[in-house]
């Protein structure tokens, strides 16, 4: 990798419908971009490229960015949009800095789930109209198929699944930006209604409203803008087959590919030892275990041990989702970039009550598509 690229700073809304429901997507973008510029002391004239990330489906209008690109300060600027997964918008901005044509880039992502139909309504449109959509394949159904396969193959207990939800909602209590902040018991999780058996309502990530902005720059610019730059050490992304039946939903091959690429770039050989914390994109409880396995934190089928032994708990050896993760906060397209923002706050030592002590290396992971078909892995370090 030629030249180093840093994250200068980040800004987020207080996510969730109760706080920001009555604001427009444009309002939310304006709020986070303004805050980020104030924090970093740069003016909008200093920015040449602004990458936005949102979804036409979620916004209910084509060219979703036309409604807020100016709120990101992008009037007459070089401002492309990355649809569906904002972690890829981050990767795109990273490559723009690496190209040498830009020394700073802003990435901003937004979704207001409170304005849109449900996650299932929308993700059903991700399925083809011939074979998968008519038989009901959408995000939650796919997560149920994947979860049941995990339960059958590895004899996963209901309690371990519930513990993942308990951990994430509880971690969210320490995160002032999180949406669903709850102190639940295992029985409460298992007592919530069945959504996609074996998954219960509290095991599946519902939507949120929110926006997030991240400023990245070349090393030279970062040195002037912040005392605590966070370095982008490695990135990788990969996509699995489209048809669910073509995949082994427990092999998560595209996550394995994505993480191998990111680890190779960043010199990580022993992820469990070398990584201090991870922010992962778990749209269901079982997915958090699968992502542990795909990220190389443990062997196949052993993700449950990390939960049982408290390894990924707030005080464990490798905390996962100190922010509360996607179960707690899910402004759909923005969730990937929120993982980056949260990992950045940890590495800057600015994560407040959710701070993991002495964090030096962190992972931000994002996924998109049924049962995690596309994955992005970003390794950050201080």
């Amino acid at each position: 990798m030629s030249g180093r690229v840093a994250i200068v700073d980040v800004a987020q809304t207080k996510h969730g419908a109760p706080y920001i429901r009555n604001l427009t997507v444009s309002d939310l973008v304006y709020i986070v971009v303004k805050e980020l510029l104030e924090k970093t002391g740069i003016s909008i004239e200093d920015l040449e490229t602004i990458i936005t990330s949102s979804s036409d489906f979620w916004q209910g209008s084509g060219c979703s960015n036309v409604f807020y690109f100016d709120a990101a300060g992008a009037y007459l600027k070089d401002s492309p949009k990355v649809e569906e997964d904002s972690a890829l918008g981050f990767v795109y901005a990273f490559m723009r800095i690496l190209s040498g044509h830009f020394d700073k880039a802003l990435i901003v992502a937004v979704t207001k789930c409170s304005e849109a139909p449900s996650i299932s309504d929308i993700t059903s449109l991700n399925s083809d109209p011939f074979y998968q959509r008519p038989v009901g394949i959408e995000e939650v159904t796919a997560a149920g198929l994947q979860a049941q396969q995990y339960v059958s193959r590895y004899k996963l207990s209901d309690e371990i699944r519930a513990e993942i939800a308990v951990k994430n909602y509880r971690n969210a209590i320490n995160n002032p930006y999180a949406h669903r902040r709850m102190n639940l018991t295992i029985d409460e999780v298992l007592g919530s209604e069945i959504l996609a058996y074996p998954l219960r309502r509290l095991e599946v990530a519902d939507g949120s409203d929110g926006a997030v902005a991240v400023l990245i720059s070349s090393e030279e610019a970062a040195r002037k803008l912040t005392d605590t730059p966070v370095w982008i050490r490695g990135v990788g992304w990969s996509v699995d087959h489209y048809f669910l039946g073509d995949r082994d939903l427990l092999e998560v091959v595209s996550l394995r590919e994505a993480s191998e690429r990111a680890y190779k770039m960043s010199g990580i050989r022993y992820p469990r030892k070398q990584i201090d914390l991870a922010e992962v994109c778990e749209t269901s409880t079982v997915q958090e275990l699968l992502w542990y396995e795909g990220l190389g934190f443990c062997n196949r089928g052993e993700g449950w041990k990390l939960i049982a032994d408290g390894v990924t708990g707030m005080y464990g050896e490798l905390p996962v989702n100190p922010s509360g993760g996607v179960l707690a906060t899910n402004p759909y397209v923005a969730r990937g970039l929120i993982r980056v923002a949260e990992a950045t706050l940890q590495l800057k030592g600015e994560a407040g009550r959710r701070q993991v002590p002495d964090a030096e290396t962190a992972i931000a992971h994002s996924t998109h598509g049924a049962a995690g078909s596309h994955h992005t892995v970003i390794v950050l370090g201080r």
Binding site: S120, F130, I137, Q149, R153, I194, Y197, G245
Partner: protein, 157 residues
Amino acid sequence: MGEEIEPRIIEGALSLPYRWATGPVGARFLEGLKNKKILGTRCPKCRRVLVPARKFCPRCFVDTDEWVEVGDKGILRTFTIINFSFVGQVRKPPYIVGIIELDGADVGFTHFIGGVDLTDIEKAARELRPGMRVQAVWREERKGDILDIEYFKPVRE
């Protein structure tokens, strides 16, 4: 700017008609369903039989070169019981979706699983298990779409 104003929400809905080409391979597969046949295509390189039929192998990136009729029976790989509603849902919840490994195919096939009493979801789930045999239940009047198979039902053999 500080003055409080009553929040206002504007409601709307989108409904747009589309006309999607199935492609020649899709057309032949769907015509097969009309005749109670499930057709796959074989990849000349990895030799896998792919269902629904494909024009090319998504793994090897070569043209498939042979049509193969696979069984309308198979084994259940995994399932989920859906107990919530969403737009465009074909069946009324609760219902079961499964991935089925059809006899003679090398990939799974997603479809409904039926013929199971769902009054108690957890009891129904205990009766379903991966590896159990299932068989297609065909629609009486078939139209050449994926719902010509109503669902797959568990069978004892």
